[in-house]
């Protein structure tokens, strides 16, 4: 046979172009594997589930090995070995295995993100302990005690288990080396093969060779060796051909060695036994002789494989029938870099502004004279809105993306705390803007952790209180108008009003018995306020709840707490569906226009000077429905220049973070959707302002940060 000439174009491929897809795919596989592991019923593991988990590890391994992420490939290899035994029922799944596999998933995620960030090789993480532990589980040692990192197991595990050569000790492979089973023959003089072995002592760096047949040829005249080398197969073949014919040399993967020794004599060509393949190599082989091979094809074919029968002759007629429509993969979804989507959203934002400008200009035109123009503008407005909604929908992803991380977290937490907690999720399909999803994950994580740590009681406490030992944490998401409401509920101990008040007084917080329950519960969002009698390493010292609230507020959202002592607690997070567009009310202050987020507007009322009462030195309040609200004049706050003083005006009652204040403005201009532009990115952070927008007439209007205004006016 002739060695195929090396394909120059093959070496030119840059595999790094596929890394992006691989990372995404591996991430999906990991997430999938974790979900499946968490759902796995260890006592009666479902074959389908085990297969699916195996496939996840298998798929990551294949890609990692192909694209050169050796640490990932090594770890997934042992995972795969363990999972393979599980799905073949050679081992029974245990909680310990699930834990170890989950842990491995975390490590893999870490390894992958390092590769994705372009970590250099020398920074490689040492996973040998984990690899050894999984290896121990796969080999049935139930204890699977952590093995010292120096254990040689990982190196051996990377290579297919060398069970084939029991007589020899396990080879230790250095980096870049591989184990090859070398078969030479049939030879008339078996000692010819020893010349080959001598090559390894004559040529430094070629590798090591050991006879596995004790120096004796078998009945077929075959001699067998085991070679540990880093030299490519083709080079080995070239060297060997000085002593034996190429056709007499077979290089194979180590696992293949056991069977040929046990296989029957060559007199039975029809037997399905793995007779040496027509062409065999370390990494590929053919069951039949190919057209380019000299030997006749027919005899190589096993009778049990009728379909494999004749040697393929594709050159004949097959190619004459052109394959029509053989094109790229048809798929129902495509992957697009998020930058492209953001660019689209930006452009649509600009279009919305242009459309608003045109609409404003169009109003000045006589509709009778310019009827066509008016119709066109109406259509433009409708299409723009539809386009905007459609584009925004691209960025919408289901809450399941966030919710999916919690089963695992709660499981670990419950184990650590000695509690029994189950997670219920409702409304995973509810969609939210990708940017918001990313930002809400941390606050939600904190809330869920808090519910399990501070909310859910120890099993014995629950039983004593007449509740089931198993506590429930519920995550629910639903759309409400232009917002999404995400609730974190638990059926734990709930909040105690008196305790909270007492603690607030200890902390020197301004409280009174007149505070509503809502306001009292809201105290746990105060910086440094902790409700747990003792500090745990799970939720820490209560720091965080204030951060949670601040983070949610910075997303234009709000958070509310409701609780019944002994029955549990509910934290409701309300968020806008997207950060890019919001409904706003534009208000005029002297020559300026400001936007008040519509979600925070409660009502607007005519104001007469007599309604305002002064409090203390500079503070002013206004009575609205038997409630005194702090009053904030926007012209004073933002130092808006005024040609002439105005009396009266309009006040808008706004609500944020559970508190209400009244804002004094000159006029209400109207309600409309505004495209939010980030002020920080274009200018700098301005207190009291959350962003800016461009109005229909081209004027820039600032969007008020109502939470900030409420905090400022009330404290």
């Amino acid at each position: 046979m002739s060695e195929t000439q090396s394909q120059d174009n093959g070496g030119a491929f840059d595999l790094s172009q596929f890394h992006g897809v691989f990372f995404e795919e591996a991430g999906e596989n990991l997430a999938n594997m974790e979900t499946l592991l968490l759902e796995l019923d260890v006592d009666s593991a479902d074959d389908e589930a085990l297969n699916a988990i195996f496939r996840c590890a298998h798929s990551i391994k294949g890609g990692a090995a192909t694209f050169g992420f050796q640490d990932v490939a090594d770890l997934t290899h042992v995972m795969e070995t363990l999972l393979d035994k599980l799905r073949r029922h050679e081992l029974t799944a245990t909680i310990g295995m699930v834990d170890t596999l989950l842990e491995s998933g975390d490590v893999l995620r870490h390894l992958l993100s390092r590769h994705q960030a372009g970590a250099a090789e020398h920074e490689a993480l040492d996973c040998s302990e984990l690899v050894a532990r999984i290896g121990a589980l796969a080999h049935g040692s139930a204890a699977a005690a952590p093995v010292p990192p120096s254990a040689p197991a990982p190196a051996a595990a990377v290579v297919a288990a060398p069970v084939a050569v029991p007589a020899l000790p396990e080879p230790v492979l250095a980096e870049g080396e591989r184990l090859i089973e070398l078969a030479i023959g049939p030879l008339e003089r078996p000692d010819t093969a020893d010349h080959l072995a001598e090559l390894f002592t004559e040529i430094p760096g070629l590798g090591r060779i050991e006879a596995t047949d004790g120096g004796q040829a078998d009945a077929e005249g075959m001699r067998r060796f085991r070679v540990i080398t880093s030299t490519p197969d083709s080079d080995l073949l070239d060297l060997f051909s000085f002593h034996v014919d190429r056709e007499q040399v077979r290089l194979g993967a180590p696992a293949a060695a056991a069977a040929p020794a046990a296989s029957p004599a060559p007199a039975a060509p029809a037997a399905p036994a793995p007779k040496a393949a027509a062409v065999e190599n370390a990494d590929y082989g053919f069951f039949v002789d190919l057209p380019s091979e000299a030997a006749p094809a027919a005899s190589a074919t096993a009778a049990t494989a009728p379909a494999a029968a004749p040697a393929p002759k594709p050159a004949a007629k097959a190619g004459d029938r052109p394959a029509t429509g053989a094109t790229a993969l048809e798929s129902t979804s495509i992957r697009v870099p998020i930058e492209k989507v953001d660019q689209l959203i930006n452009l649509v934002g600009e279009l919305v502004i242009t459309q608003a400008m045109l609409a404003q200009t169009g109003q000045a035109l006589d509709p009778v004279v310019h009827q066509g123009m008016a119709t066109g503008l109406t259509d433009l407005e409708r299409n723009t809105r539809m386009l905007q909604e459609a584009v925004m929908a691209i960025r919408m992803i289901p809450m399941a993306v966030v919710f999916n991380r919690f089963p695992r977290m709660l499981r670990d937490l419950a184990g650590k705390l000695g509690k029994q907690v189950e997670l219920q999720t409702i409304g995973e399909d509810t969609e939210l803007d990708k940017g918001l999803i990313e930002k809400i994950t941390d606050p939600l994580t904190h809330l869920v952790r808090n519910a399990a740590d501070h909310g859910i009681e120890m099993p014995e406490v629950r039983i004593a209180a007449g509740k089931p030992a198993l506590g429930t944490v519920t995550l629910a998401a639903a759309h409400q108008g232009g917002s999404i409401v995400i609730e974190v509920r638990d059926d734990g101990r709930g909040l105690n009003r008196d305790k909270l008040l007492k603690k607030a007084i200890e902390r020197g917080l301004p409280v009174s018995d007149q505070m509503t329950d809502q306001e009292v519960y809201g105290l746990i969002f105060e910086p440094g306020f902790s409700t747990a009698a003792e500090v745990t390493d799970v939720s820490g010292r209560g720091v965080g709840m204030d951060v949670v609230k601040r983070n949610i507020a910075s997303l234009g959202g709000s958070v509310e707490i409701d609780s019944t002592e002994g029955r549990g607690m509910r934290v409701s997070v309300r968020l806008p569906l997207t950060l890019a567009i919001m409904d706003g009310m534009s208000v005029g202050v002297a020559e300026e226009t400001y936007i008040v987020p519509l979600a925070s507007v409660v009502e607007s009322i005519h104001l007469s000077a007599g309604d305002i009462k002064s409090v203390g030195g500079t503070g002013r309040v206004v009575e609205v429905r038997n409630e005194y609200l702090p009053l904030l004049a926007l012209d004073e706050l933002f130092a808006v220049p005024r040609k002439e003083p105005v009396s009266g005006g309009i006040m808008i009652v706004v609500e944020a973070e559970g508190g209400r204040i009244a804002l004094i403005v000159d006029e209400l201009i109207g309600q409309h959707q505004v495209v939010v532009k980030n002020l920080e990115a274009n200018y700098r952070k301005v207190p009291g302002v959350s962003g800016a927008t461009i109005l229909g007439d081209g004027q820039v209007a600032l969007i008020l940060d109502v939470s900030w205004l409420v905090r400022r006016a009330r404290h």
Partner: protein
């Protein structure tokens, strides 16, 4: 002569991309499929010159696909290679029994893939 066409079946998108990029760059026409069932669907009544299939896939694995192809007259002689991460005798025997022409162990680089294809699809 028409472009040689190859059916590439793998559930892993990155592997599929790598394989088809390699093949297309070398002038082959490629039909991609994500599993055995998808491969049968995509093939319809088309003919291909070579089939490369992964073994472990959801819905329909590689060996089942090979058996399904081999019972069809037009695929009786088509070379079919199994791309697999394991090269155990058990696998080889199963591949041979299913009617595979040969196997290739993952991981492989594009050059190796073209080299092996060159052996089954002579010019």
């Amino acid at each position: 002569m028409a472009m040689r066409s190859i059916l590439a079946v793998d559930d892993s998108a990155s592997m599929r991309q790598m394989v088809s990029f390699t093949l297309r760059s070398s002038g082959y026409d490629v039909i991609e499929a994500v599993d055995g069932q998808d491969a049968l669907d995509k093939l319809g009544d088309k003919q291909v010159d070579l089939v490369l299939t992964d073994q472990n896939m959801p819905r329909m694995d590689g060996l089942t696909l090979i058996k399904q192809l081999r019972v069809q007259e037009r695929f009786k002689r088509t070379p079919i290679l199994v791309l697999t991460t394991e090269s155990s005798d058990e696998m080889k025997q199963a591949g041979r029994a299913a009617g595979a022409t040969g196997w290739m162990v993952k991981p492989f680089d594009p050059a190796r893939l073209l080299e092996v294809i060159g052996k089954v699809l002579p010019q």
